[in-house]
């Protein structure tokens, strides 16, 4: 009887992880050939008109992902880290409790709603979809991740180093920035890496903000833009074989990007020696 139970458990457990392995294999199977057969132009060209033979490239999506992920990180990281430092330094303040609740809520909320927020705040009043709006939406998605991981990392710094720093006459800001943050820097970097994977991989926040644009590689922050996940989402639904091919190639690129940052984040788990 126990044997049966064990067998069942093992089977279901393996079944549970099989999909992701298959996803990686399947996307590689359908996406890699697209890149191989199109070569470098896959990364540098615009998507071709649907009547063309060759599908063109996904340059707008790449450019958009690079720009929006980068700017979103620039906005989210300082904001979230400083807020986390506040929570550590003033743990009993009512604002700390409010930020924790806010962070948890932003983490749980459907990301499409975050896109809708920026839509109301930025797109409606200005009447245009912009890459900047997309960056803002992604930044909000990133904030709770950076906040939570930063808090965790700072809390794990042994108290004795903080006492030593104060005993040397360091002021509060010096203790925080010269000692606590620096000792915890790997944990902080890991939080940033994880937040970046989220920003890179999200589709829904961009639907209402960046909207997607494929006639130029990058029109600037004040023009609509695309991003890898957005492009994949939009192109896979079209009826055109050409563009669906691009979607598969783009899926593969996104997969590779994700796996790379995932591995980097893993390496950062090796802690500073205490």
């Amino acid at each position: 009887m126990d044997k049966l139970f064990t067998l069942l458990v093992v089977l279901v457990a393996v079944l549970a992880i099989l999909p992701v392995l298959h996803i990686i294999a399947y996307i590689t199977w359908r996406g890699l050939p697209v890149i191989l057969s199109n070569g470098l132009s896959f990364f540098t060209d615009l998507p071709a008109a649907v009547v063309e033979e060759k599908p063109g490239g996904i340059a707008p999506a790449l450019a958009g992902t690079i720009f929006m992920t980068f700017t979103a990180t620039l906005i989210a990281v300082p904001l979230a880290m400083l807020a986390a430092i506040f929570s550590i330094e003033f743990p009993n303040h009512v604002l700390t409790r409010a930020v924790r609740v806010a962070s948890r809520s932003l983490l749980e909320v459907a990301t499409v709603l975050i896109g809708m927020l920026i839509f109301v705040l930025l797109v409606l009043p200005t009447g245009r979809f912009t890459a900047l709006a997309g960056s803002l939406a992604l930044a909000i998605v990133m904030i709770p991740y950076v906040y939570t991981y930063t808090e965790l990392a700072l809390l794990s710094v042994p108290r004795t180093y903080i006492e030593a720093a104060y005993s040397l006459g360091m002021k509060r800001s010096q203790v925080v920035f010269y000692v606590t943050v620096r000792i915890a820097r790997r944990g902080l970097a890991r939080g940033v890496a994880i937040a970046v994977t989220k920003a890179m991989g999200e589709t829904a926040p961009l639907l209402f903000t960046a909207f997607g644009a494929y006639s130029v590689i990058f029109g600037g922050p004040l023009e609509p833009a695309s991003a890898l996940p957005l492009m994949v989402f939009q192109f896979i639904q079209t009826g055109y074989e050409n563009w669906r091919t691009l979607a598969w190639g783009g899926s593969f690129v996104l997969l590779v990007l994700y796996l790379s940052v995932f591995i980097i984040a893993r390496i950062l788990v090796r802690e500073v020696k205490y």
């Binding site: 006492e163 104060y166 040397l168 006459g169």
Partner: protein, 253 residues
């Protein structure tokens, strides 16, 4: 006593509703080594941390009373200025893990504006390491991280870090509790030299009676959050007034 370095009157400390220090009054003489001794839990560490106002980092702490350092009331001063009067060495060695040996010592000097140029900084670092009796052992590996050193060496490094501040008073919280006898001897030699050559006032907390007798000129006996007695070491050693002191010196408590 001619103008004490530290003068404490009616000091009371409560943490989380518990009385840790119950009406402490004492004086620490200048340019001497004063041992604050007593069994574990008698409030010695708390007392030390009141002096450099490190105790204020603890949640729910209440402090009342008067503490004067070189005639100045520390509770009226800017807390950071108070802390710069003191150098502290902690019970468990805690050199900053993310800084090299050199930088660990230098940071004390940098924060307190002791050195103005790179050359001056090098001199201060060397001086501090020499006084801590560690220079010869690390002079060729100043860029190494501190975890390559043994426990005893790390503690001497912490002493150097504190000395680089050029403090008027050195506070040591059971500094040899976790290190071997050889390094203990080094540390005690370093303290004697500091008192003799640099006129630093040293306050060392210890629960080892022998260490107090060996190293200090002046003794303050703590028990259960109160001062039991204080006086020059020779007097206390030969003829302690109180029973508690006698039992402590005999190793009974």
């Amino acid at each position: 006593m001619v103008s004490p370095a530290i003068e404490v009157r009616n000091l009371k400390v409560r943490i989380g509703g518990r009385d840790i220090l119950k009406d402490v009054s004492l004086r620490v003489p200048e340019a001497t080594i004063t041992a604050v001794m007593g069994p574990s839990g008698s409030g010695k560490t708390t007392f030390l941390k009141v002096l450099n106002r490190l105790i204020e980092l603890v949640d729910g702490v209440e402090v009342s009373g008067e503490v004067k350092v070189f005639g100045m009331n520390i509770f009226d001063m800017n807390v950071y200025e108070v802390r710069r009067l003191f150098g502290m060495v902690f019970q468990i060695p805690n050199p900053f893990p993310h800084l090299s040996i050199y930088d660990n010592v230098a940071i004390g000097a940098r924060i307190n504006n002791v050195a103005r140029s790179r050359k001056e900084l090098d001199e201060v670092v060397r001086w501090a390491l020499e006084k801590a009796m560690l220079w010869d052992e690390v002079k060729n590996r100043l860029r190494d991280p501190p975890w390559r050193l043994s426990g005893g060496q790390q503690q001497r490094l912490c002493l150097a870090r504190a000395l680089a501040m050029k403090p008027k008073i050195l506070l040591l919280d059971e500094p040899t509790a976790n290190i071997d006898p050889v390094n203990t001897a080094y540390l005690e030699d370093a303290l004697r030299a500091l008192r003799r050559d640099e006129n630093v006032t040293i306050v060392i907390v210890t629960h080892i009676a022998h260490q107090a007798l060996r190293v200090s000129d002046y003794i303050i006996m703590f028990y259960d959050g109160r001062i039991v007695e204080e006086g020059p070491t020779e007097e206390i050693a030969i003829n302690p007034r109180e029973d508690v002191t006698r039992r402590f010196l005999r190793g009974e408590i």
